[in-house]
């Protein structure tokens, strides 16, 4: 059975790939234990005995809200936490959008004896990364090979093969007299591939990912050079249920689930400061098939706050269970939803976020926002809101925001809203197309009203359009927001609904 994952939206996760400069942190320091790292993210990976990699993407919006609340940046806020954890014995930490680049930068920092929290995007981080030595690169690639082997991701034969290819490459580099990897950073990955094989090319491609992204060569196949093996605690809060008789109806199932959630919340391995990010509900069907259903919470969920009804958890479990049933019905081309009998399950808390005393107040405030956050956890589809952006191009004048990002904005003055009100035209439609549609109409009879002329982003490729003339076009059955670009083409951009 394949694992069913329904939210968070894949789109929202993948978008971090491009824009987030603090998606991953690699840390080296004796005080950085798994328990301590839980304060930063539930998703951490042990690279070797000393180094940990933290994946921040699943909780970045949470830290963003926390940082705003403290009038600081996410980077500074997380640096503060790392300082608190590692200041006693000193630590090295590197921040980047890619785990492999984190490892490399960490190697440079360690080599130079530069302790602290440094981002690859900062001037200092960029300079350090430019002077990445072959020794550090070689050491890091070797540690990557060891990591893959230790986690049974490659066989011994592959391990030997990778090491041989690496030695060949470094021997050639020595012959050519190239002092630093950055000297050949613009070398296309396919040239490395031709000489030293696919895997070394993949590692090379990721080392200078930004440069290689610009090239025509497709780097998608390199996405998995570091398969993420999340660190799991030896004792995971788990409850197993063996039913005396098969159950089909949700009403019956949920009564047992309530009992199990209650037991789960009382386990010693589940701490009071834990907030759940995801649960795994492994359902055992009557035919002994096991269906893993992953239950994600949009916001960290406090299980101990909800007994005896556990409404939030039960609703999300119901949505996943129902989606699974729909999927089964669709696979069987069956229009009627067949309820499958369940004979047992296992409930496991797979990801938690440790809430420290300083950050706990965001969860425990009893205000509207807290109610909204709790409500959002109980819905099948997400709620979203918008924020203005100062841009004259209509589709760039707003951005979708989630609730946590609004946590602090809500108390800001309303004046900004009303300033915008005066600045914007009342002849704007209620609905727009995210991408303007080509307007083709045999007859253009009707009322045309010129609305405004706006400049287009002519300096951004591939657009070469200089301006847009917006019109309101009204005929008997349409009331559209159209524009004509500088080449005379017509587009429908919105509908006056």
């Amino acid at each position: 059975m394949s694992k069913l994952l329904f939210f968070p939206d894949q789109g929202s996760i993948s978008s971090f790939k491009h824009e987030s400069e603090i998606a991953f942190i690699a840390v080296l320091g004796s005080n950085f234990t798994y328990e301590a790292l839980q304060m930063i993210s539930p998703n951490v990976m042990q690279w070797n005995e000393q180094i940990w990699i933290i994946d921040l993407r699943s909780c970045l919006s949470y830290w963003s809200a926390q940082a705003k609340k403290n009038n600081t940046s996410v980077f500074d806020y997380i640096r503060g936490i790392c300082d608190r954890i590692g200041s006693a014995s000193g630590y090295y930490a590197s921040v980047a959008g890619d785990p492999w680049q984190c490892i490399l930068l960490l190697g440079v920092l360690e080599e130079k004896g530069m302790q602290g929290f440094i981002s690859i995007q900062s001037n200092m981080g960029r300079n350090f990364y430019t002077y990445l030595s072959w020794q550090v690169w070689q050491r890091s690639v070797k540690s990557l090979i060891q990591y893959l082997y230790a986690n049974n991701l490659i066989r011994r034969s592959k391990l030997i093969q990778h090491e041989q290819k690496l030695s060949h490459m470094l021997a050639s580099i020595k012959k050519l007299g190239i002092h630093y990897p950055s000297e050949i950073s613009d070398m296309p990955a396919y040239q490395i591939r031709r000489r030293y094989g696919r895997w070394i090319a993949a590692v090379w491609g990721r080392t200078y990912k930004a440069q290689n992204d610009q090239q025509e060569y497709n780097l998608d196949e390199y996405e998995d050079i570091i398969p993420w093996v999340a660190y799991r605690e030896k004792i995971v809060p788990t409850i197993t249920r063996y039913l005396d008789f098969p159950l089909k109806q949700w009403d019956q199932i949920q009564d047992y689930l309530k009992q199990d959630l209650h037991k789960l919340s009382l386990l010693d391995s589940f701490k009071n400061t834990h907030r759940i990010i995801s649960l795994e509900w492994l359902v055992v069907l009557q035919n002994l098939d096991e269906v893993p259903l992953t239950i994600f919470f949009r916001h960290p969920y406090n299980l101990r706050k909800e007994p005896p009804h556990f409404r939030t958890a039960l609703l999300q479990m119901f949505f996943q269970y129902e989606s699974y049933q729909f999927k089964v019905a669709a696979d069987q081309n069956d229009d009627i939803l067949q309820e499958t009998a369940i004979i047992g399950w296992q409930l496991k808390i797979t990801q938690t976020l440790e809430v420290s005393d300083t950050s706990q107040q965001l969860f425990d405030d009893s205000n509207d926002l807290d109610a909204l956050i709790a409500l959002e956890n109980r819905l099948q589809v997400p709620l979203y809101s918008y924020q203005h952006y100062d841009s004259w191009v209509p589709e760039e004048s707003f951005v979708i925001k989630n609730t946590r990002e609004y946590a602090t904005a809500i108390n800001q003055s309303m004046e900004n809203q009303y300033q915008f009100k005066h600045a914007s035209s009342k002849y704007h439609p209620l609905y727009i197309y995210p991408r303007p549609q080509s307007f083709k109409s045999e007859s253009k009879s009707g009322v045309w009203r010129f609305v405004e002329r706006v400049m287009d982003n002519w300096w951004k490729q591939p657009s070469s359009n200089t301006f847009r003339d917006y019109y309101q076009y009204i005929n008997l059955d349409k009331n559209l927001w159209l524009y004509q670009d500088s080449s005379g083409q017509w587009y429908t951009h919105g509908i006056f609904a």
């Binding site: 909204l372 819905l379 809101s385 203005h388 707003f398 800001q412 009100k421 914007s424 704007h428 609904a497």
Partner: protein, 206 residues
């Protein structure tokens, strides 16, 4: 003397705001004619069914109630929710802000089956004004549920249908039913009360 009158005004405003929040005062817009047609404004605890032909500009009228919910004298704006299912179209927020709607207090959801997918929204009282725009899946049973929840939580739920309502086919669960359309030539909005309105017809300019 001045300070006394100022404090009296403030107290009056606060009292009014409190009444609004507790549902004893209707939510009135800045358009007097619209308030008159609605018998003082939008009454809390009601399901209102609107027939607004799609794509002709008639949805500007319900937006005025949304703006009114965000213009609460002496109080924080009320939380509102706009639900639609019009992919690939999306709501254009600057148009809402231009009407005085506070985007921080307005949430959106794109849902085909809101009663199922957003059930908690209706069973809890956080959102005071909910607009269901062009959601075709809502049937009589759903209307019964919405009406019950609106009454229970003192919220106002507006169901915007994409076509004009037929007076011959009723909806017992909607406290009020009306048709609304925009005449682009006279620039007037035509309101036609089908159920629950003191005035049958009115043309207004917004």
């Amino acid at each position: 003397m001045n300070s006394i009158s100022t404090s009296t005004v403030t107290m009056n405003q606060l009292t009014q705001a409190s009444k609004l929040c507790h549902g004893s005062l209707p939510l009135s817009t800045q358009c007097t004619d619209l308030n008159k047609f609605f018998d003082g404004g939008l009454h809390w605890g009601e399901l209102i069914e609107w027939g607004i032909p799609w794509g002709l500009g008639g949805r500007q009228v319900p937006l005025h109630f949304l703006a009114a919910a965000h213009r609460m004298p002496g109080n924080r704006p009320l939380w509102c929710l706009w639900v639609h299912n019009r992919k690939p179209l999306q709501v254009y927020p600057p148009a809402l802000a231009a009407k005085g709607i506070h985007l921080d207090f307005l949430r959106f959801a794109c849902s085909e089956k809101p009663i199922h997918e957003l059930k908690a929204v209706f069973t809890e009282s956080l959102f005071k004004l909910i607009i269901l725009d062009g959601v075709t899946s809502i049937n009589r049973d759903d209307c019964a549920f919405l009406s019950q929840m609106a009454r229970k939580h003192h919220m106002s739920i507006m169901l915007l249908r994409d076509q004009l309502l037929n007076p011959d086919s009723g909806n017992v669960w909607a406290r009020r039913r009306l048709n609304c359309w925009h005449d682009p030539f006279s620039m007037e909005y035509h309101l036609e009360g089908i159920k629950g309105f003191p005035i049958n017809r009115m043309n207004i300019r917004l």
